[in-house]
């Protein structure tokens, strides 16, 4: 059962703004929207659709298609509603005879340069140009060339006299996932802007000018594949026609339904609409209301969905007596009873603790909760573990020790309010591409970046992005570098004393400050060890401490080290020192390996912790769950994954229930 309202999929035309409320009148309807909102969006909020082609609510207004023109009382002409911000008391008319005539005139021009093959077009029924032609009531295209000759156009390979049409360009099928058909392009620039504004790759541009303007990937002679394009799909999603179209849609046809799901590839956890034609998945489209991705995607989630229909995918329950036997398809009843009987018989033969469970960070909270409960309430032991404990237990421990709870402190939306970012031991453009796009957008808007990584990752310098400081430390020296940053902040008096007094333990801080101020932690003293230029390090520390909202993002380059927990605590200390905890735009953020690491930990899948990180040894803790579940809970922590494997080798661990995880 869905206990929430599914938000609208409707495109509101221009991005939402934050600001003081402004009330205006559109077609006699009073509308109140935040200051800075476009008239186009204000109308959409009031349920008044204004025709548009170049506008989209994930892109800044551009004003090129001229379909969204309106009349505003007291203003000359017919301004485009997408580029006109609302003002108090403004009176707008969206459907006057004059604007209707302009829209029809513009649409007539569009269609005069468009192949009229709608019935066989891959975008048939899913084409904004088609929709808008209907919306403006276009009935006739009166343009023709003199003496019945062919008009100048982009869609016919040959002119009426049989010569090659210089305006026609062949289809670019070089990208494996989508094709670009210039003949169907209406030059709305949405793809170019999506590549710039949403993805931040800058692979696309418009080549030529006037009627010759065409979308172009890369430089002269490049096709899509040869360009900087990373196949994130933002351009394809942005295209209102079939100019940029998924090859799957061309081959299979348009979808007839969609299922909202979560991408399982990386730790970002993007929401997708899995668009289906019958039972066939035809396209994965990033879900615009996904909280992690806000309608953006990377190549993996967008196009690498071959797993959905892969021949190796197991679709029916199977059992086998022994490993040398072939798998045998069985009914669900048989499979469940086989598993239950065998697990119970293992316990009868080898003891209560001879079996266990492993769950995964790719599972939902509900799934993970139930699996650990299976171990604790049914198997009667605490042999439950998860991959999350392996990859990010330093996060769990470090943040638990410092903040009292082992969770990252920000959601991905928070990056939009960040002023200075430290990235440590992570390579977001490769590892967490959708988050990287969101981060890059913020950096292009002026936020500063400090990269702490031995590698010269893309974020250090890429189009329109440059790190203010890159501290290329020697591997294994995270603690020294993080401590040196803190040393500079404390010794130069850059910490946020009010925050520390109000939100931390001042006496503890004095102790810490004395420790960290010791000259052995200085950038100069540790440079020999870390290889980091002390001047750069000091500048980076000052920048982070003095630039407004500061956020730290870190990855496995921090946690998968022997001193991982200590580094995490150092990072948490940096955030607390500078008052960067507890509001949007600031915080400490582990970039996880899978999309529900947090939930897997929260749900109690560790052998020593019940849901909510409550330690198994506490009798009062166990009592709560014993009452809820109506069973006795074992007081001893269970086996971790390596212990299970060791015990299996020793012959004491005999059965494993494994969910969503490939421990091999």
């Amino acid at each position: 059962m869905k206990d929430f309202i599914i938000p609208t999929e409707r495109d509101m035309g221009t991005p939402a703004k934050v600001g003081a409320p402004v009330t205006l009148e559109i077609d006699g309807v009073a509308v109140t929207v935040p200051e800075g909102t476009s008239v186009l969006r204000a109308a959409a909020e009031a349920g008044i659709p204004i025709p548009k082609l170049c506008a989209s609510d994930n892109l800044e207004a551009f004003g090129s298609c001229r379909l969204c023109v309106v009349e505003i009382e007291g203003r000359r002409g017919t301004p485009a509603s997408c580029t006109t911000p609302v003002t108090p008391g403004m009176v707008v008319h969206t459907g006057s005879a004059k604007v209707r005539k302009i829209r029809r005139g513009v649409m007539e021009l569009y269609i005069s340069d468009h192949p009229l093959d709608c019935l066989t077009c891959s975008a048939n029924g899913d084409c904004e140009l088609q929709d808008m032609a209907g919306a403006v009531g276009l009935r006739d295209v009166r343009y023709e060339a003199p003496n019945n000759g062919g008009m100048v156009n982009h869609f016919a390979p040959r002119t009426t006299s049989g010569e090659a049409n210089p305006e026609w360009l062949p289809k670019d099928d070089s990208n494996p996932y989508f094709s670009y058909d210039p003949s169907k392009c209406i030059v709305c620039n949405r793809c170019v802007r999506a590549c710039e504004e949403v993805q931040g790759t800058f692979a696309l541009t418009i080549a030529g000018r006037g009627f010759d303007s065409r979308v172009k990937a890369g430089g002269a002679g490049d096709d899509f594949l040869a360009s900087d394009c990373v196949s994130c799909g933002a351009c394809v999603q942005a295209c209102p026609t079939a100019a940029l179209q998924e090859k799957s849609i061309i081959e299979i046809g348009t979808p007839d339904r969609a299922v909202i799901t979560t991408c399982a590839y990386c730790g970002v956890g993007c929401s997708f609409r899995a668009e289906m034609n019958g039972d066939t998945l035809v396209r994965m489209v990033p879900y615009k209301h996904g909280k992690a991705n806000r309608g953006h995607s990377c190549v993996k989630g967008r196009f690498a969905y071959g797993y959905a229909h892969h021949k190796d995918r197991i679709l029916k329950p199977m059992t086998r007596e022994r490993i040398s036997d072939p798998w045998r398809e069985v009914s669900w009843d048989e499979a469940l009873s086989f598993a239950a009987t065998r697990m119970r018989s293992l316990q009868a033969q080898y003891g209560r603790k001879s079996i266990g469970v492993i769950t995964s960070s790719r599972c939902t909270n509900e799934e993970t909760y139930l699996v650990q409960k299976l171990a604790r309430a049914v198997f009667g032991n605490n042999n439950t573990d998860t991959c999350a404990r392996v990859c990010h237990s330093p996060t769990g421990y470090g943040l638990g020790q410092t903040f009292g709870t082992s969770a990252g402190t920000q959601d991905f939306d928070s990056v939009e309010q960040t002023d200075v970012v430290i990235v440590i031991g992570a390579n977001p453009t490769d590892g967490h591409p959708v988050f990287a796009s969101r981060l890059k957008k913020r950096l292009r808007a002026g936020a500063k970046l400090i990269v702490v990584d031995p590698r010269r990752i893309d974020l250090v310098k890429s189009p329109h992005i440059a790190a203010a400081h890159h501290l290329p430390l020697r591997p294994g020296t995270n603690v020294a570098v993080v401590s040196a940053l803190a040393h500079v902040i404390v010794t130069e008096g850059l910490m946020d004393e009010a925050f520390i007094r109000a939100r931390c333990d001042w006496d503890e801080f004095q102790h810490y400050a004395e420790f960290i101020s010791n000259p052995r932690h200085s950038p100069e003293a540790t440079a020999l060890l870390t290889g980091v230029d002390p001047v750069e390090l000091r500048a980076a520390a000052r920048l982070f401490a003095t630039s407004g909202n500061g956020a730290i993002y870190y990855g496995l380059g921090v946690t998968e080290h022997s001193q991982g927990s200590t580094t995490v605590m150092g990072i948490a200390n940096l955030a607390m020192l500078t008052g960067n905890i507890g509001r949007p735009g600031v915080g400490v953020n582990p970039l996880r390996g899978q999309n529900n690491v947090q939930g897997a930990c929260d749900m109690g899948s560790f052998p020593h912790e019940l849901p909510g990180y409550r330690h198994i040894k506490g009798p009062e803790v166990r009592a709560i769950f014993e009452e809820a579940w109506g069973v006795q809970i074992d007081a001893e922590p269970g086996l971790r994954i390596p212990n299970m494997l060791d015990a299996a080798v020793d012959g004491t661990f005999k059965g494993l229930y494994c969910q969503g995880e490939d421990i091999l």
Binding site: S64, V69, K101, G105, Y143, N147, V152, N189
Partner: protein, 502 residues
């Protein structure tokens, strides 16, 4: 012996360099001063010899005339230049020094009133400077006629860590040359105007976006900026005031649309020269997203004289809401073409028939296109139109940059309408649909009319309406003006083809 010889591009095109060389050879002892042009192009090359402190003109001079010019016997003698009818009838405020001084002599510039305006402005605060410009009634001379003072006030009141002055010197309109003439003939006045603008609005950096087709103007402006910087007119300490303003010359890449202020800013930033939607206004988010004054050369070059003589003095000239002087550029099929600066209010007929002397071919005048390739064709019947922004607008015209191109009765107005559409198709930036596709369809539709398809005329009218009301900038929005004025005033030129075909 003092001899003044222009080095303006128009004079060069008419052979002044050969004449100058001949004079140097024949009179090696003479002091030769190179100047801008007096603006009487039909007299170029116009050589001036100083006799008893008065400059006597000889032109149009050829190499064969040199001996006569030097001994005073030349039949090309025009008498004192200042006494020529063309010169006497002008009110030269903006162009006061052009053709008079050595463009690259700062001393000459100062001796003729230069820097007086800047010195006066340095005694005023930003708001005072802006108020002075507002009081002068100066309006944008690039074409739009927007009140300069209001634009400056917007920039002055904007809060930003950096503001800019950008001079639009992308003078691409056919039949216009005032910007070029003043940059070649009196560059310091533009520099001074930009410095005053910078002081007024709080901008410390300026750029002149100068079209690549003007190599001489580029060279003169660059040298003038170096000289001004060397003399402390530009730099961190403008004339010892402790206030900073510096500027540089940037060269365009040949796109007409980059004369549109937002495309110009994109081009100046190193981006494709495509039009930006407004708002945001460049005055608030202009060059590099900062508050920016974008003014035409003539607007900025007029600022020094306003400060030198006072806003009231300047505002005293003119007609209605068009205050001060207009720098008319008379071109096309005209007997006497050139630059004529006068108070707003002169009629079109006086300019074309009296000053211009009618057509060069001697045939009757058919129409004048006022305001560049996007301006209306005005028939002789409307020659009583006074040249002022509102006055010309009332006659369906557009003053624009005040370029006038004269046509005789041989002009084919359907062909001129087609040219307007073709020009738009070639120069369109391609961003908005009405301009990008509409201009191409316009050429085709006019070709249909030319081929006798009278049914295409209502379609052309509809297309013009779509382009006028729907385009993003003035290129697509004003192309219908020449087309529709040609169609409205000269319907026979559109009908004869049809009849001929029938």
């Amino acid at each position: 012996m003092k001899i003044y010889i222009p080095m303006d591009s128009a004079a060069k095109a008419l052979g002044v360099e050969e004449v100058a060389t001949a004079i140097r050879t024949a009179a090696p002892e003479a002091e030769i001063i190179r100047t801008g042009t007096r603006g009487m192009i039909w007299l170029e090359p116009l050589v001036e010899v100083e006799i008893d402190g008065e400059r006597h003109g000889y032109g149009p001079a050829t190499v064969g005339d040199v001996a006569g010019i030097l001994d005073g016997s030349s039949v090309k003698a025009l008498g004192p230049v200042a006494d020529l009818d063309w010169m006497r009838r002008q009110t030269r405020l903006t162009f006061a020094r052009v053709g008079v001084i050595d463009p690259l002599s700062l001393a000459d510039y100062e001796a003729h009133g230069g820097l007086a305006g800047l010195r006066r402005a340095l005694g005023m605060d930003g708001a005072g400077i802006v108020a002075e410009v507002t009081r002068s009634g100066l309006r944008g001379r690039g074409g739009a006629g927007f009140p300069t003072g209001i634009k400056w006030k917007t920039v002055q009141e904007a809060q930003a860590p950096q503001k800019y002055i950008v001079c639009n010197a992308d003078e691409g309109d056919s039949g216009t040359f005032a910007d070029r003439m003043i940059m070649e003939g009196d560059p310091f006045t533009l520099i001074e105007g930009m410095a005053i603008a910078g002081l007024g609005v709080g901008a410390t950096r300026g750029y002149v976006y100068l079209r690549s087709e003007y190599p001489d103007a580029i060279a003169v402006m660059r040298r003038a900026v170096e000289i001004a910087r060397g003399a402390g007119v530009l730099g961190a300490d403008v004339l010892g005031s402790g206030r900073a303003f510096d500027m540089e010359i940037r060269v365009g890449a040949g796109a007409y649309v980059c004369g549109e202020e937002t495309s110009l800013l994109n081009s100046l930033e190193g981006k494709r020269g495509v039009v930006r939607a407004k708002p945001p206004l460049p005055a608030l988010e202009g060059f590099l997203g900062r508050p920016t004054v974008v003014n035409n050369v003539i607007s900025l070059a007029t600022v020094p004289v306003i400060f030198e003589k006072g806003a009231a003095y300047y505002a005293d000239f003119g007609l209605g809401r068009s205050r001060g002087t207009v720098t008319l550029q008379i071109a096309g099929n005209v007997a006497r073409g050139g630059l004529f600066e006068t108070a707003f209010g002169i009629t079109l007929g006086e300019v074309v028939n009296d000053l211009g002397g009618g057509t060069l071919t001697g045939r009757p005048v058919k129409a004048v296109q006022v305001g560049g390739p996007l301006g209306a064709y005005i028939p002789v019947g409307n020659f009583d139109a006074a040249l002022g922004y509102e006055e010309l607008d009332a006659k369906g015209g557009l003053l624009g940059h005040a370029g006038l191109v004269v046509f005789d009765d041989g002009a084919d107005m359907l062909g001129m309408a087609r040219f307007a559409m073709e020009f738009c198709a070639v120069e369109s930036c391609g961003k908005c649909t009405p301009c990008r596709i509409g201009a191409v369809r316009g050429v085709e539709t006019i070709d249909r009319i030319a081929a006798g398809d009278g049914a295409a005329i209502p379609l052309l009218t509809d297309l013009c309406e779509t382009m006028k009301d729907g385009s993003l900038c003035a290129l697509g929005g004003l192309t219908p003006l020449p087309v529709m004025s040609a169609l409205t005033h000269f319907p026979d030129d559109f009908a004869t083809r049809r009849e001929a075909a029938e």
